[in-house]
């Protein structure tokens, strides 16, 4: 198997992890990974060196954005959960709590935070994936962390300023 494919194959578990955290749904996440792989293999000829991993993360991030846009056109997004308040402490509840906290983030902030914290990408790599300067990545990270802290502390989500 050529090196390109080997690198792609080796990244699949990590892509599944990232997709799961982005979508909070195992099936949708794997669909997203599948779409990413199809795109990647189809555009193999467009890939001229560089980091395969960052490139795959870029594709997945963009596909997820498309997915969210198409969802946004539909009025009903997802059922409201029975208990939508922050969970009580506990190992299991803790997992769901952080999930919900992530769900309250603006998309770009969530992507940046997950790429850094979960996927271990450098700020520079995230800047490439998101197509923005490093300073923007850092401010997204900072805002994400403030928002998550507010959520986990049980406070009201920070109001977003509308310009």
């Amino acid at each position: 198997m050529p090196a390109f494919r080997q690198n792609v194959e080796a990244t699949i578990p990590a892509l599944r992890r990232y997709a799961r955290a982005l979508t909070r749904d195992a099936d949708i996440a794997d669909d997203l990974v599948q779409d990413t792989l199809v795109r990647a293999l189809r555009s193999e000829h467009l890939f001229h060196g560089g980091d395969v991993r960052s490139w795959l993360y870029t594709i997945l991030t963009n596909l997820n954005r498309n997915r969210l846009r198409s969802l946004a056109r539909r009025p009903a997004l997802s059922p409201i959960e029975d208990n939508d308040a922050p969970d009580l402490a506990g190992p299991e509840a803790g997992g769901r709590d952080i999930e919900r906290a992530l769900a309250t983030l603006v998309e770009d902030q969530r992507n940046a935070l997950l790429l850094v914290v979960l996927e271990g990408l450098s700020y520079r790599e995230v800047a490439e994936v998101q197509g923005v300067p490093i300073g923007t990545v850092m401010s997204r990270l900072a805002r994400a962390r403030v928002q998550i802290k507010t959520y986990l502390d049980g406070g009201r989500p920070a109001l977003r300023r509308v310009k």
Partner: protein
């Protein structure tokens, strides 16, 4: 949270916990945190967030990658994308429901590389079907008796050369059509009626995905068969009777193919 003239910036605190802090700044930052317990608590909470995120999702790395996500499978499925209707029909015959949920997708033998898009189209079409199928007095804007006018009008609005299939051979009469909002602009919507009053609709919109195989999706009582030919995406909706629906979809598909052949 940090004074403007502080010797340590907030960016540096993030870099510190993300392992991005240059080595020559390490000492300054740790010393500063030791002297500012309140900020140290905040930084610790950020670190705890990271740990919770990793704890929540980290184990996914150890999961066995599903068969459909292996590269061999991806390549194989992607090739299947370009096959003819006959191959698709054969593939459709072996598909199985995805258990649970209001919507099950059939995608064996066909890549679902475009699922987010096709999903949106098929859902839009099913919504339209549910909305208008119960309409007794005004199900359509243009009656089926004005087929030619309707075809021209809808083709112009959708921006593609559309055909309105004749499904008399399988006992369906054209009730008429209407214009609807689609995923990327206008969509055309035709309604057909059988002898016992059962209704089927065909929804056509500019394709936002490359050509795709036939897929079946089912909702509560209604279901749809979806495909795209590269230019136009089609969704045939009707009562949730898979066999009948596939027959209608196939008839519609063949009609449109025949028209295409005639025109070219």
């Amino acid at each position: 949270m940090i004074d403007r003239d502080s010797p340590v910036t907030e960016d540096e605190l993030h870099a510190y916990i993300d392992g991005e802090l240059p080595a020559d700044r390490m000492e300054a930052v740790t010393a500063w945190l030791a002297a500012h317990p309140e900020q140290a608590v905040t930084v610790a909470s950020w670190r705890a967030q990271s740990e919770r995120i990793r704890a929540r999702y980290g184990t996914i790395l150890e999961e066995v990658v599903p068969e459909r996500l292996t590269l061999d499978q991806i390549v194989r499925n992607d090739r299947a994308n370009g096959r003819s209707w006959k191959a698709f029909a054969a593939a459709a015959a072996v598909v199985a429901f995805l258990a649970g949920g209001a919507t099950g997708w059939f995608a064996h033998g066909a890549s679902i590389g475009t699922r987010p898009n096709s999903f949106a189209v098929a859902n839009g079409a099913l919504d339209a079907y549910r909305l208008y199928v119960v309409e007794v007095r005004h199900p359509v804007e243009v009656p089926g008796t004005e087929r030619q006018h309707m075809t021209q009008w809808l083709s112009k609005r959708v921006g593609e050369d559309l055909r309105v299939p004749d499904l008399q051979s399988i006992g369906l009469k054209l009730v008429g059509g209407r214009l609807l909002p689609g995923p990327t602009g206008a969509a055309a919507f035709y309604m057909y009626e059988g002898a016992s009053g059962e209704r089927f609709t065909i929804y056509c919109a500019k394709a936002i995905a490359p050509a795709t195989a036939f897929r079946y999706t089912t909702g509560d009582r209604a279901a749809a068969v979806y495909w795209a030919d590269g230019k136009v995406a089609y969704v045939v909706s009707g009562p949730a009777d898979r066999e009948r629906l596939e027959k209608v979809a196939k008839a519609a598909y063949e009609q449109m193919e025949k028209d295409d052949a005639k025109r070219s």
